[in-house]
């Protein structure tokens, strides 16, 4: 109820000291703060972000079937001057090899997103199971798992990823990991944080009455986990996965920048951005288009993730 009204007590007796509350003015300011207004509607930012993500997702996943997108490794167009920038036939311009950048961005997005999805799924399955087990069974299991998770979390992820990729992919002097290796390394890194989140959510739910109720009806632990806990864990995790996708895109980009992500003919956004660096002065568009697309995608994912997350936690509170 409105914070401007006094403490509603059933019998408003005079003579009882009123609660030491802030003056109405101050609480109005508090109410106007973002937490509340966000709760109310999904603003235009939300919808713009959704539209963008739909576009990106659609274009990248449908890429092989789209006529205006060249396949990776398609024959380059040498007739255009790389320094020219966007034009009618090449919406994002061409790079110094004559490849159409728009197609590259779309294909690169496909790879980047596929890697991200794969990592999210693998990470959630493994991290999720670990987290649920820890949060549900508590006790010694939890302590051991948590200790390991904490250790993993305590380390700068990128360094570990580099080390892993280096070891698994090196074949002498050149390092060009394959997709599975990249996905594998990033997934391993995602297990720890995801396990922690899942554990937290599971902890919150395991205490609820409906779990106890199921138990008294004779349900086994597995059954409870499957039918009671899991359906409740999935929604917040799904929301969280949006943020994770963004993080993985960035991480993969970082690897690509170091030349430690998947190689040609696969493109990723990170690789495209990096490839444009030598030509930054003459043909900045080579870098800026992929960078712009990546930026907008991450922005949209973060934004939607934030909003959905705040909606979720509020609803939790109402329960």
């Amino acid at each position: 109820m409105s914070e401007l009204l006094p403490d509603h007590r059933e019998d408003q007796t005079v003579g009882i000291p009123e609660a030491a509350g802030a003056s109405p003015g101050e609480t109005t300011a508090k109410a106007a703060d973002d937490g509340r207004s966000r709760k109310r509607r999904l603003g235009i930012g939300f919808w713009l972000s959704t539209v963008w993500l739909v576009i990106v997702f659609g274009l990248t996943m449908l890429a092989p079937y789209l006529p205006f997108v060249d396949e990776p490794g398609a024959f380059p167009d040498f007739s255009v001057d790389p320094a020219a920038g966007p034009s009618g036939s090449h919406w994002f311009g061409v790079n110094n090899n004559g490849d159409d950048i728009f197609s590259q961005v779309v294909n690169g997005g496909r790879t980047s997103l596929l890697i991200a999805f794969a990592v999210v799924i693998l990470g959630f399955v493994s991290g999720g199971i670990v987290g649920m087990v820890a949060g549900f069974f508590r006790g010694r299991t939890d302590r051991v798992i948590s200790a390991i998770v904490d250790i993993l979390l305590a380390f700068p992820a990128l360094v570990l990823a580099l080390a892993m990729i280096a070891i698994f992919a090196s074949d002498g002097s050149t390092v060009r990991p394959s997709m599975p290796v990249v996905i594998g390394a990033l997934s391993i890194l995602s297990v720890a944080p995801l396990a922690r989140i899942t554990r937290g959510i599971t902890l919150a739910f395991a205490e609820r009455e409906f779990v106890t109720a199921a138990r008294t009806l004779g349900a086994s632990n597995i059954r409870i986990l499957r039918k009671e806990i899991l359906p409740n864990v999935i929604p917040p995790m799904a929301v969280f996965s949006l943020t994770v996708i963004a993080v993985v895109i960035v991480a993969e980009g970082a690897l690509a920048f170091l030349g430690l992500s998947v190689g040609a003919p696969n493109q990723t956004w990170g690789k495209l951005i990096n490839d444009g660096r030598p030509r930054l002065e003459t043909s900045p568009h080579i870098t800026f288009f992929p960078a712009g697309v990546m930026f907008l995608t991450i922005l949209a994912l973060n934004y939607i993730g934030d909003i959905l997350q705040s909606k979720f936690t509020v609803r939790e509170g109402a329960l």
Binding site: P6, D7, Q12, G15, T28
Partner: protein, 370 residues
């Protein structure tokens, strides 16, 4: 910054503070909340005005409105405020900053939160001294020590270097008072100064305020929910309900011949020594109105045992009472024929027009039965 005289025509004959038709409305998602709705009063130098009301009556917002300490957004303050004859209603924050401290000061309800926890007490006092009065450090420190002494804090030289959490609640409130009085203001707003304190300490603090006020010939606005607090200490008392002043009189008149049923109810709710033990404490049933949607007619009608149909329709205007300075707003005032009849009618029926039979039956005035 040296002390600057508030520019303008400062008149010594004009009352210290004149408030005319002051309203403070908050724009909230639920609508416009009329926290203060057309309040007027005058305060002379050296006098104490007690403002009494329940929580939600708007009394805290009132004092902050006069001081100008409201938040910037979604707040509308209208009306006129004159200090020593000068209209300060349109003063900017920068201009008010010169008023706060040397002219007007305020003490808040909770001494625990009124003091900066990470700043030494002495510094909190000398801050305003050095800013407003341009005092050099040494002099300011000495003054701080003597201020602490004058508010009754033992070993002030030692306390000056301490932090708030090292003091008890009563001590802290004394420090708060010292800070407020440091620059010698002519007007002090005390917003529930004793509510957060132990009962034993309350009287001490109130006495301290009294003493300081007399010594400095300072005017004071004492805001409280407790009529008992203002009983011996205020020259004039204003009773607030739902953002309006519903009765105002000199203290003597108020207690002797109150007219507002609300005031009567307030008085009754204070337990008295003469009651037999286990006497049920009288309380005012119901709740204050929703300030965003005030009821038609008198705001108090839903809870008033004198209420009649007229009260539900027509808002009573402030009318003058027999004694000078006594105003009240009621259609069927206490202690008048009309009022007595109204009460009798309600008692006979068992309920007022604001309630129906299913609801709580009206309570008898205290002293007329158990």
């Amino acid at each position: 910054m040296a002390r600057r005289i508030v520019a303008g025509e400062r008149s010594v004959e004009a009352p210290l503070l004149e408030v005319e038709d002051l309203s403070t409305h908050f724009r909230t998602p639920r609508g416009r909340v009329r926290a203060v709705d057309g309040v007027s009063f005058t305060l002379e130098r050296g006098r104490t005005l007690g403002i009494v009301g329940e929580s939600g009556s708007g009394k805290t917002v009132l004092s902050r409105s006069i001081m100008g300490l409201l938040p910037r957004t979604n707040v509308e303050r209208t009306g006129t405020i004159r200090y020593e004859g000068t209209d300060i209603s349109e003063y900017s924050q920068a201009e008010m900053r010169e008023v706060w401290g040397p002219e007007m000061a305020m003490i808040f309800q909770d001494p625990m939160t009124s003091l900066n926890p990470v700043m030494k007490i002495g510094k909190q006092i000398t801050e305003s001294l050095r800013f407003h009065l341009d005092m050099p450090k040494g002099e300011a420190n000495d003054l701080a020590v003597s201020l602490l002494r004058s508010v009754g804090i033992p070993e002030p030289a030692k306390r000056v270097k301490e932090y708030p959490h090292q003091l008890s609640g009563g001590m802290r409130q004394r420090v708060v008072i010292a800070i407020a009085l440091a620059c010698g203001p002519k007007l002090l707003f005390a917003d529930e100064p004793t509510t957060a304190l132990d009962v034993t300490v309350q009287a001490q603090i109130l006495n301290l305020l009294d003493a300081q006020q007399r010594e400095r010939f300072m005017a004071m606005v004492l805001v409280t929910h407790d009529l008992g607090v203002v009983a011996g200490r205020a020259h004039d008392i204003a009773v607030m309900y739902a953002g309006k002043i519903v009765e105002k009189a000199s203290a003597k008149t108020l207690f002797a011949s109150m007219r507002m049923p609300y005031t009567e109810a307030l008085l009754e709710s204070i337990p008295k020594l003469e009651y037999a033990s286990h006497t049920r404490l009288a309380s005012i049933p119901g709740r204050p109105p929703d300030l965003a949607n005030p009821p038609k007619g008198c705001n108090f009608a839903p809870r008033c045992r004198y209420a009649q149909e007229r009260c539900l329709e027509e808002e009573p205007e402030l009318q003058a009472g027999a004694d000078t300075g006594h105003v009240f707003a009621c259609h069927y005032p206490v202690g008048t024929e009309a009022g007595a009849e109204a009460l009798a009618r309600n008692l006979a029926r068992g309920f007022t027009p604001a309630q129906d039979e299913a609801e709580v039956s009206i309570t008898q005035p205290a002293g007329s039965g158990a």
